[in-house]
């Protein structure tokens, strides 16, 4: 498993790094998709396959396309950044902060006692049924709120994006 974990996380990290550093946004997006696949892979590794499928369905299926649409709508078709550097103003400050944060986190993890914890026992099958049951029983309130939130987000997104269109 180590090998699979290592390769998968390597791919994921590579994807994330590329997603952050590449100049051409579409390539960034592809890197992001790779990252999402990595995450889904990890979910499968951790026996949360429903989540993995959901992750694929939602992120790769919907969000990636959404971002694609966003990229295309907001810039000329060529998709390139137009020669200007993609990095913002004080980029070194950002990188410095992030790396120091990462270092600090690793140090903390290393010091905390959880680091060597090993998973115990395999989980039983039928997780999906269980999730279904839970959703409708214990988690029904969050479910409904989520429904409301999603519709609100849907309508909000449409109104914001569309509003300008009509007025002009």
């Amino acid at each position: 498993m180590n090998i699979v974990f290592l390769t998968l996380s390597a791919i994921m990290v590579l994807g994330a790094v590329l997603a952050v550093t590449l100049r051409n946004l579409v390539h960034c997006l592809l890197a992001l998709v790779v990252f999402f696949l990595g995450i889904a892979g990890h979910f499968f590794l951790l026996k949360a396959d429903f989540l993995g499928a959901a992750q694929i369905l939602i992120y790769i299926g919907a969000v990636a396309v959404l971002i694609l649409f966003a990229i295309m709508l907001t810039r000329n078709i060529s998709g390139t950044e137009g020669g200007r550097s993609s990095l913002g103003g004080a980029w070194w400050l950002g990188v410095g902060l992030a790396s120091s944060l990462a270092g600090m986190m690793c140090v903390f993890v290393r010091r905390s006692e959880l680091v060597t914890k090993l998973p115990y026992g395999a989980t039983e099958e039928g997780v999906v049924k269980e999730i279904g049951k839970l959703l409708v029983t214990d988690w029904v309130v969050p479910l409904e709120i989520m429904a409301v939130l999603l519709t609100a987000a849907l309508i909000g997104a449409v109104v914001i994006a569309l509003e300008e269109e009509k007025k002009r």
């Binding site: 051409n24 579409v26 390539h27 592809l30 998709v33 396959d49 429903f50 499928a53 959901a54 694929i56 369905l57 790769i60 299926g61 919907a62 990636a64 396309v65 694609l68 295309m72 078709i77 060529s78 998709g79 099958e125 039928g126 999906v128 049924k129």
Partner: protein, 384 residues
């Protein structure tokens, strides 16, 4: 995968464990790939011959006895053709697009139970995985359109994405009915749930409606004729694969046809009872008969596709989307309700009648609402 693992151990115990495991995993996949590739080749031939016949012409009859070797000829031709890449194209994305089109098509195959006890990968979220992966094809489609830096291809990609996204929703909802009926996501369990004479879901009212919706959505998903707007030859040259030539174009064709076949496969597993048929349970050749049943049903679906392609005209974009959102979606929701009604009905007959009536009413109502869709007499702007 475990069964095969056992088989391998039985026949050649000397094999090292990891090799055996790998074999156990890879063997079924290889078999499935091989079978479906040949089916793909056959499908292209059958389609061109059938369309020819429908249009009063012969169809390929030069290569091979009745033109049987035509797919091979096509393949060879495409292999040898020069692979042109437009210089303004986005090289990386342009190269990846055909790969991404084919990969999800084949990944969906993993969860299609070809024969009794014979499935590439038996996931317990099989159908969900299939649906998820099929949505991933949207990305590939868009990448192709975007990368070739060509207005027609971009337009085609946009249409494709819109179509796929908007037909995904009714498809999933149609599948939900089946999942409710079978109680589990794994495809094998779904098939098993359809045992019995009238066990096929298609025999149920909601099953029939679900089948029709799913079939239409599948066709839209794969961009087959009534909905083949993405690469409508007459309007936008060849849609998103305009700038592809040579093997990449072959990959695209393969991806499309394989997706069509796999969608057919899923339709079969979900609505037509997969490999179930009268003789599938025989001990000796049961899996062979079940395979035959599966492929027979698959053939029927394919014929229906081709048939549709030969007759129906291309649908206009707004009608395409309108049809999905304003008719299929509500119908599938009603279908779920009908399924619930059927499920919780005191006895089969009452359940059956109620759901049938409900569905009929829903269909008529929705048709009435969407009547506006019918074509009114066309008015020309500049002539009186």
């Amino acid at each position: 995968m475990d069964a095969i693992y056992q088989l391998i151990h039985d026949y050649c115990p000397t094999m090292p464990d990891w090799l055996a495991l790998a074999l156990a995993i890879l063997l079924p996949i290889a078999i499935v790939m091989g079978v479906f590739l040949t089916v793909f080749a056959l499908l292209t031939w059958v389609e061109r011959k059938a369309l020819g016949r429908i249009q009063n012409r012969r169809g390929p009859n030069r290569v091979g006895p009745v033109g049987l070797f035509q797919p091979i000829a096509d393949g060879l031709k495409l292999l040898t053709k020069e692979d042109i890449v437009p210089n303004a194209a986005d090289k990386v994305v342009h190269f990846l697009a055909p790969v991404l089109v084919v990969v999800p098509a084949f990944m969906v195959l993993a969860v299609v139970p070809v024969a009794k006890g014979f499935i590439a990968v038996d996931l317990n979220i099989g159908v969900l995985f299939a649906l998820a992966v099929s949505t991933a094809s949207v990305l590939a489609l868009f990448m192709a359109g975007w990368a070739s830096h060509n207005k027609f291809s971009l337009l085609g990609a946009m249409r494709g994405v819109a179509q796929v996204v908007s037909y995904e929703v009714p498809m999933v909802l149609a599948a939900v009915v089946v999942l409710m009926a079978s109680g589990s996501l794994s495809s094998v369990s779904i098939v098993e749930a359809q045992r019995g004479l009238t066990g096929w879901f298609v025999c149920k009212p909601w099953g029939l409606v679900g089948f029709v919706i799913f079939q239409l959505c599948a066709m839209a998903e794969v961009a087959r004729t009534p909905f083949d707007l993405p690469e409508a030859e007459s309007e936008i040259v060849a849609g998103y694969h305009t700038e592809y030539s040579g093997f990449k174009f072959a990959l695209f064709q393969m991806g499309e046809y394989v997706a069509a076949i796999t969608m057919g496969g899923i339709t079969v597993t979900m609505f037509l009872g997969g490999y179930l048929g009268p003789g599938c349970d025989l001990p000796k050749f049961g899996w062979l008969i079940s395979a035959c049943w599966f492929f027979a049903k698959l053939g029927i679906i394919v014929v229906i596709n081709i048939w549709a392609r030969g007759t129906w005209p291309r649908v206009r974009v707004d009608q395409l989307l309108g049809f999905a959102w304003k008719l299929l979606l509500p119908l599938s929701l009603v279908n779920i309700v009908a399924m619930a009604v059927w499920h919780f009905a005191p006895n089969k007959l009452v359940g059956w009648v109620e759901s049938a009536v409900l569905l009929a009413v829903a269909i008529v109502a929705l048709v009435k609402i969407n009547a506006g869709q019918t074509f009114e007499k066309r008015s020309y702007r500049f002539t009186s």
